[in-house]
Symmetry: C2
Subunit: 279 residues, 2 copies
């Protein structure tokens, strides 16, 4: 019995490493021949190909994980639906769910939309690592087929993930705040540290930047294609989040302009207190 | 020959640990008796007192590091100036310099304003650790006494710091961007993830928050007193930085609202590219 992975990046590659460590056999598909070769070399897959049709075990595949960029999930599900045995379960890992789950289930009834929330600064198969998913949250969206959900839930749990059931709309609103908004906030911070400064100040800003700057901008300076996809496929929720964020920073800026130091301190105390509620 | 440290928090305590590991003898002063006792217990100081006047080696002290909160640096220098031998060098570690250096030098000619850029999430003497300063930048501001600068430079370099010479005004503008602005940006992000959300979305936002949220908000959820001091003592530079940051996030929000995905991607690509210039 085989497990399939389409898209051998950080998530797909890490998934392959963990599943093979459990003794499962894994096939992988990537558009890039070099990625296929590297996935084989690091042991993320048993076999790999740039063409789905060349995979010899499609009909014996229990589950396929679609780990492509967000904008290729639906077209991948469509192609898989034509090649797989109808008992095969298809799942995905995309960070938006509203734009995907209902459409994918219309194409293939045993589709279960998921979002394992794991990442790394190193993109692509180079970043693939064992145990990436341990203790990280994984969202599973409602699906018409309870057995398909059970299969997917069992696999994510076997990797050590904390499972949450959540509808696509609620998921997308939540990740707009805690995942997509931080990307835009961090990217804007980098721009504000690079533009509009006197050259001498700029020099020192670059030399003196330390762990505070690096941590605050880590996801904002991450994969630009992924950031663009987040904005494109979760635009409405992200726009609401951005508007509310802009109100917050405007409010804090006004407290500072007013030299209302007790209110500034109160604002920062709430931030400190509330942060511990997350994650 | 003794080294003195006034203010036994994260920076003062870590400084004591490293200096004593070099074989130097260190006295410490803290307003809190419990902090004095803990500093002795962890080995950050040889002797400690809540009263400067009770320290028996003031006249044999070569250098005193003022590691108090920003708003107590000047009053501490004033008191030290009355008790120390005039050959003793006084330096500080405050994250703003314009509000301190000139005034402190008017009180005491052998004062050298410094800013070692090191930190930790754990505040106070509890967070004190060896090697905190290794490979971190340290700003030294101009001072009338070149020998005093040489003494201070030699000590910070012996802890492994990268030394930069920078005037107070330039320093304050640079740290407003890369150190003080990230605090306000991160605090506002926490507020935007805690306020204005439907309770179910709020629940999932908290459960799904992962390393991206945690890193982006680390300094924003840090010490509220320190954040308030940064704003208070570097207000003008921070207000300029906040205004330019608000323009940046407004611009990015507009690109998203316009669904101008190539421009969004270009913005995120610049963020990714520019981030590597910092630190």
């Amino acid at each position: 019995m085989w497990i399939g992975i389409v898209g051998l990046g950080l998530i797909g590659g890490s998934l392959g490493l963990d599943l093979r460590a459990q003794g499962k056999t894994v096939w992988g598909v990537s558009r890039s021949r070099a990625t296929c070769e590297m996935a084989l070399r690091v042991g993320a897959v048993d076999i790999a190909s740039t063409q789905l049709a060349d995979i010899p075990h499609l009909q014996e595949t229990a589950v396929v994980f679609v780990c492509t960029p967000i904008d290729q999930v639906l077209s991948t599900v469509q192609v898989l639906a034509e090649h797989l045995h109808p008992l095969t379960v298809i799942t995905d890992v995309a960070s938006v769910k509203g734009a995907i789950v209902q459409s994918a289930q219309a194409m293939y009834s045993r589709f279960v939309g998921c979002h394992p929330m794991a990442g790394s600064e190193v993109q692509g198969i180079k970043g693939a690592q064992k145990h990436l998913f341990v203790d990280r949250p994984c969202v599973i969206c409602p699906a018409p087929d309870p057995e398909a959900i059970a299969v997917v839930q069992s696999l994510w749990a076997s990797l050590g993930m904390r499972i949450y059931y959540c509808d696509p709309h609620t998921h997308d609103q939540a990740v707009a705040r805690i995942s997509h908004l931080p990307v835009m906030v961090g990217a804007s911070l980098i721009h504000a540290c690079q533009q509009g400064l006197d050259p001498t100040v700029q020099y020192f800003a670059q030399k003196l930047a330390s762990s505070g700057f690096r941590d605050t901008t880590r996801v904002g300076g991450g994969n630009p294609e992924l950031g663009t996809m987040m904005a494109r496929f979760n635009r409405e929720a992200l726009q609401v989040a951005l508007a509310q964020y802009q109100q917050q920073i405007e409010h804090l800026s006004q407290l500072i302009a007013d030299q209302n130091w007790s209110a500034v301190q109160n604002y920062l105390e709430n931030a400190q207190k509330w942060r511990s509620l997350f994650g």
